[in-house]
């Protein structure tokens, strides 16, 4: 069984600061990470790899050459291969042009049974690229997957809704987008990190894909940004758990630490 996982390198938004005067994000010095939902997508693929003998897991991303380190991380978590789709022509793409490019990459790999993607990336929050890839490949899709079972070529998933979930049955090949409730992503193993750097990660450019130049990058992107602005940040709340007595103790400790009492 061949599983493909679509991943994206994103700025760690918990570390991003805002330039209050310009209303833009200060990205300098902000670490880049594997998009959290994509880690859940990869984890589910790796669980299948552990359960069945003949599973291969290939991660695919579109991005600049710096995305290499994120792909190495995916290998160090247990993926078999990684492919980087990278070309200056891909730059400035919105979700439409991005899904054109990634779909072309996945078509080139071919013979996939399941494609996992994260629900959405924490930098854009669009949740559009996964579904668009499925449309362009002409395969079924289920979004917001919070539970997954495989039986032969039949997949049964729970699709998360705001106030419950749907149970959906679908045949492979299928594209599924993962939410964080699906699983707990594993860590990188020390041994796998060194092995990850011994593997070759192929870079596919425009020339390697069966796609026209007018389908990729900025000029293929219908999205036009007129203005970006920063809403006033809300304070981050903290949820305390435990018995009433424990919670009160925690509140007092935190108030003391902040010199409020």
């Amino acid at each position: 069984m061949k599983i493909l996982v679509c991943v994206k390198q994103v700025p760690d938004t918990t570390e991003v600061k805002i330039d209050k005067e310009k209303g833009t994000l200060i990205r300098e010095g902000v670490p880049s990470i594997l998009n959290p939902d994509d880690a859940n997508a990869l984890e589910e693929a790796l669980v299948l790899k552990e359960q069945y003998d003949d599973v291969t897991v290939t991660v695919v991303t579109m991005g600049p050459p710096q995305a290499d380190v994120m792909l190495r991380q995916c290998l160090a978590m247990g993926a078999d291969d990684a492919i980087l789709l990278s070309d200056r022509a891909f730059g400035g793409a919105d979700t439409w042009a991005t899904s054109n490019t990634i779909a072309a990459g996945l078509r080139k790999i071919g013979n996939y049974d399941i494609i996992f993607a994260g629900r959405q990336a924490i930098d854009g929050d669009t949740a559009q690229v996964g579904p668009q890839i499925a449309e362009k490949l002409g395969i079924p899709q289920v979004t917001y997957v919070q539970n997954f079972e495989l039986n032969g070529n039949e997949v049964t998933v729970q699709r998360q809704l705001e106030d419950g979930y749907e149970i959906i049955q679908v045949n492979t090949p299928v594209l599924l987008t993962a939410v964080k409730e699906l699983n707990q992503p594993r860590y990188m193993g020390v041994d796998k990190i060194f092995a990850a750097y011994k593997k070759e990660i192929p870079t596919w450019t425009m020339a390697d894909l069966d796609i026209d130049a007018d389908q990729v990058g900025l000029k293929a992107s219908p999205t036009k940004v007129f203005k970006s602005f920063t809403p006033a940040p809300k304070g981050k709340g903290v949820m305390l758990e435990g018995t009433t007595k424990e919670i009160v103790t925690k509140v007092i400790v935190q108030l003391k630490q902040k010199h409020i009492i």
Binding site: Q73, R186, Y197, K256, Q257
Partner: protein
């Protein structure tokens, strides 16, 4: 120092691990004295407790620089967990790896690396601390077995171990050249441990005496040959110093981090502590010393990876890092003032944890002996 890409990713990997797994646990372990088995299993699963054990024996097969990186990052969060890791990774693994038979490696080293067995290392005795030559524990050959009698003290993991590496006299008149090293299983008759030591710091670790009363140890559990027990112990401690020195760097860094954080929050005389030049100079001093200690550790690790002898470098790294860990923890607590003396703040635990670093695995004074010994020979 600039890392290779592998080491950079390793640093990120272990940070991801400790940020989640060692978030609230260190403070809990300090209170309860219990290190959850789940944590030990995860450390083994991702090979954080077997960094330098070769892959063929279930370890990560990584280098000493990786070991230093892993130890520092773990100890930035939890010194107790670091002590558990260094006990297994170096003190228990290295005697078997460097001197053991293939059968011993399969039977003990592999399960140790895979986290299926917990080991401990017994050299120190009530009357033999820095003077390791004053060993009283004795093993007498009787047919196919050695009969082991004696007592070891302050042994990390003793109450939870499956087996112990034990240094014992096999030929007393020969002194140090009459010592041998054995692998002794805790389930054997006559093997027991003493009461739990109520320690000042690293309270998440289990420490007690090991007691041997006519324990019958099969001949095949002798490591190497008779007479090289002390050599095995010294060889092990020499390499192990990289781990403990890196542990000290981690503890020092965590104290510094707490001091920086607190100094930016605490307001006195109408401004934060960080606005006072005294605080700024103190922090600069701490940062410089932590960086210097880290470079000494990396230097020892890189030389070890290049196959060089590191008795001198390892001792300097362990000596300096342990001393400045105490100094930095002291200054960080001082910046906290009264609040630093209260258990609500992590610096209180860090300060107590730091104290062991200049004592165990060779006191600072023993390191000074080794360093000056190299100078004056």
């Amino acid at each position: 120092m600039l890392f290779k890409k592998e080491h950079e990713l390793l640093q990120k990997a272990i940070r991801d691990f400790v940020n989640i797994e060692l978030d609230t646990l260190p403070a809990e372990m300090d209170k309860t004295g219990e290190m959850p088995r789940d944590l030990l299993d995860k450390l083994a699963k991702y090979k954080y407790s077997s960094t330098i054990v070769p892959k063929e024996y279930g370890g990560a097969g990584a280098d000493y620089l990786s070991y230093a990186i892993v130890m520092e990052e773990i100890c930035k969060k939890c010194c107790s967990t670091g002590t558990y890791v260094t006990a297994g990774s170096s003190l228990v693994a290295l005697p078997i790896l460097n001197f053991g038979s293939d059968e011993q490696k399969q039977r003990y080293l592999k399960p140790l690396a895979l986290g299926e067995m917990i080991g401990c290392f017994g050299l120190t005795e009530p009357g033999a601390g820095s003077d390791a030559s004053a060993q009283q524990t004795e093993a007498v050959l009787d047919g196919d077995h050695y009969i082991l009698n004696g007592r070891k003290c302050f042994i990390t993991n003793a109450p939870i171990c499956d087996f112990a590496i034990v240094i014992a006299m096999t030929d007393k008149p020969k002194g140090l050249k009459g010592t041998s090293a054995f692998i002794v299983e805790s389930k054997w008759d006559g093997f027991s441990h003493g009461a739990h030591e109520d320690k000042m710091g690293i309270r998440g670790t289990q420490t007690s005496d090991l007691v041997f009363e006519n324990v019958r140890v099969p001949k095949e559990n002798l490591i190497g040959k008779e007479g090289i027990g002390f050599k095995i112990a010294m060889n092990t401690l020499e390499a192990g110093r990289i781990g403990v020195a890196a542990q000290a760097v981690g503890v020092a860094q965590s104290a510094l981090d707490e001091a920086v954080k607190y100094s930016k929050e605490r307001v006195q005389f109408g401004k934060t502590l960080s606005k006072f030049q005294n605080t700024q100079f103190t922090l600069a001093d701490m940062e410089t010393k932590v960086s210097a200690a880290r470079l000494l550790v990396y230097d020892a690790a890189i030389k070890k990876d290049a196959g060089k002898k590191i008795d001198h470098e390892g001792s300097m790294a362990k000596y300096y890092a342990a001393e400045i860990a105490n100094e930095v923890a002291y200054k960080a607590l001082q910046i906290h003032g009264g609040y630093g003396y209260i258990k609500d703040y992590p610096i209180e635990r860090i300060y107590r944890d730091a104290r062991i670093l200049s004592i165990y695995e060779g006191t600072s004074q023993v390191q000074q002996m080794v360093i000056s010994g190299g100078l004056l020979k």
